[in-house]
Amino acid sequence: MVTVIDGLSLGAIYALIALGYTMVYGIAKMLNFAHGDIIMVGAFAIFVTFSTLGHPLIAILVAVVICTVLGVTIERLAYRPLRTASPLAVLITAIGVSYLLQGIAQLIFGAGNNPVNFLASLGVVSFSLFGSQINVSWSSILTVGLGAILMVGLTLFVKYTRTGRAMRAVSEDRGAATLQGIDANKIIMITFAIGSFLAAFASLFYLSKTPVNPTFGSMPGIKAFTAAVIGGIGSIPGAMLGGILLGMIETICLSIPAISSYTTAIEFSVLIIILMIRPIGLLGKKRRVKV
């Protein structure tokens, strides 16, 4: 039971990050490798604000604002000039941005670990189920709950608002959407803003699991990216499914001593196996290739 809740909470974190990857991929047709490092920046923002002001809510607010602004800035400066370039060029630029953010963070904060644990200080909830005592930390419950709210909100946003409809149109066919009067650049910018907004929350939740350092974002970033690909990159429900699936696999593997040290290998093998069976991911849409 505890494993399931922990798995869900890790899965919710992965899903939140994966949503950022998948939305950007669906709409701008590029892999934003720097997404994991936006999480790192968000975590440092929380660390700095929390240790100077001591108020968790302000810290979260600051992190959200910084992440969103950062996401939009990266899009404007690094990716928009390359809108017509080959995917390989954009991908390499994204890797460059990721390195740049890590380097700058290392220059400012050093390579050491900075623990922030106001979520962990919320304590644990105990209750009994089928006669056995179960302890679940508040941070896990908060992660799952808030994660679910954010994901439902996002789904509703994309489905029912005008902007959401424009996003889906751009994702379907950018040229045709532009002809309908949709400003594709603006929509892509909004997508980056939403992705980074979700990343800020992901950084908050991930802080309850590990202390922040300059490479804080790279592992959850790669894992969440894996999750997005497993679910079918470009598909929003796919990212949620993939994230939760990966979180569960990771937690279950870690809880079995015989295979716990091979967790990373198992997770990535799942990715490769799924891609071999279904190259578009679990919920991905198949597109015809034309010459």
Binding site: Y25, K29, M30, L31, A78, P81, L82, R83, T84, A85, S86, P87, L88, A89, L91, I92, T93, I95, G96, V97, S98, Y99, L100, Q102, G103, I104, Q106, L107, A111, R174, G175, T178, A184, N185, S218, I222, F225, T226, V229, I233, S261, Y262, T263, T264, A265, F268, S269, L271, I272, L275, M276, P279, R287, R288, V289, K290, V291
Partner: protein
């Protein structure tokens, strides 16, 4: 007369310049090491440059000619290093620690990496672009995770390989660079190389023209992995202990930086960039104390600056080569134009001369006619003639 001209064209000096330079380097090194002028650190730096060259050239084959991004090159190197050095350790009591054992170890490391290249190449046949990139990244992480947990490879402490004789290792490395370069260059300039670039430019069209896409994709992956495996064994014997942390995703990126810095698709560029980046890295890892004191820097500040510099270089080069904003600047600074000025040739004719080879002037003329009153506007999405590779 015609044959003579043909041979002259085939054996143009520019095709062989990298071999001449490399052989020159080997001869100079031979003289220097015979006179004892090379210090211990010079040997290790030169060996490091050598195996970095092998890595850059083999990654360039995948990125520049097959057009697929591989983020797991360090993973292949890791397989080669572990298996090759393990076999070296096994053979050492039997055949001694001579050059023969080293060559057997290198071949076995290369072959085992090539087998993994084949394994990763199979899903690669069904995947494209971004999906393949994440698949290779995943592969690199799997390899590291598995080697970390296998007890007979030393586990997390790493595999102890023992240092090889410095002088022999340097020359083996340089000769390997030469061999790998020759294989790769000849592959590219052959019929097979044209098939590979055809797949890069348009896979469906290449398939329609009868190119065996499966065969060539696997060939490139296997060959590139084999070279990375060779380089892994050289690395293992140069550093004495292999630890899986050193083959992380970051190292794959470092190799990618070499390829991008040298120019995607340019082998000579890869060689030069591998030399520069490795030399700079070695310099920054052990900066002369005088400089460190003068700048009053901490121990790792220079390493961090290196990371930032890599990132900035990577972004700027891609921007410069791809962004429409810089098209004007690119035109102005193009080397071809500078040469044209030098030769007093009209720069306007260069592109026309180049276009002559395929003789589809009708299409070009038609485009010119059609383009007269259709000006390309700022922010236009795609060139209608050229569908996006990502669009399916």
């Amino acid at each position: 007369m015609k044959t003579l001209k043909y041979f002259k064209k085939q054996f143009a000096v520019k095709h062989f310049i990298s071999y001449f330079v490399l052989i020159g380097v080997i001869l100079v090194m031979a003289v220097l090491s015979a006179t004892g002028a090379l210090s211990r650190s010079a040997y290790s730096t030169l060996t490091k440059i050598g195996y970095s060259m092998i890595l850059a050239v083999s990654l360039n084959l995948v990125v520049g000619f097959l057009g697929e991004l591989s983020l797991g090159h360090a993973g292949f190197m890791c397989v080669g290093a572990y298996i090759g050095c393990f076999i070296f350790n096994l053979l050492e009591p039997v055949t001694g620690s001579g050059i023969l054992t080293l060559i057997i170890a290198m071949l076995s490391g290369g072959v085992s990496a090539a087998i993994f290249g084949f394994i990763i190449g199979v899903p690669a046949l069904r995947l494209r672009g971004d999906y393949l990139a994440i698949c290779t990244l995943a592969f690199g992480e799997i390899v590291r995770n598995v080697f970390k947990n296998l007890p007979f490879f030393g586990g997390a402490k790493g595999l102890n390989t023992g240092l090889f004789d410095r002088t022999t290792l340097l020359f083996v490395t340089l000769v390997t660079v030469l061999v790998v370069l020759a294989i790769v260059q000849n592959l590219i300039r052959s019929k097979h190389g044209r098939a590979i670039t055809a797949i890069r430019d348009n896979e469906i069209a290449a398939r329609a023209m009868g190119v065996n896409v499966t065969y060539y994709k696997l060939l490139v992956f296997v060959l590139s992995a084999f070279a990375a495996g060779l380089s892994g064994v050289l690395y293992g014997k140069a550093v004495g202990i292999i630890r899986q942390d050193n083959f992380s995703y970051n190292y794959s990126i470092e190799i990618l930086v070499m390829v991008v810095l040298g120019g995607i698709g340019s082998m000579n560029g890869s060689l030069i960039a591998a030399t520069i980046i490795t030399a700079v890295t070695v310099f920054l890892q052990n900066p002369p104390p005088a400089i460190r004191d003068a700048l009053n820097l901490g121990d790792d500040t220079l390493a961090i600056v290196k990371t930032i510099a890599y990132a900035v270089i990577l972004i700027l080069i891609i921007m410069y080569n791809n962004a429409p904003v810089f098209a004007g600047l690119r035109e102005k600074l193009s080397i071809k134009k500078l040469f044209a000025k030098f030769k007093k040739k009209d720069p306007g004719n260069i592109s026309a001369d180049e276009a002559k080879w395929d003789r589809i002037t009708t299409k070009i003329e038609m485009d010119e006619v059609l383009r007269v009153d259709v000006k390309k506007r700022e922010g236009e999405l795609t060139d209608p003639d050229k569908p996006e590779r990502g669009a399916k």
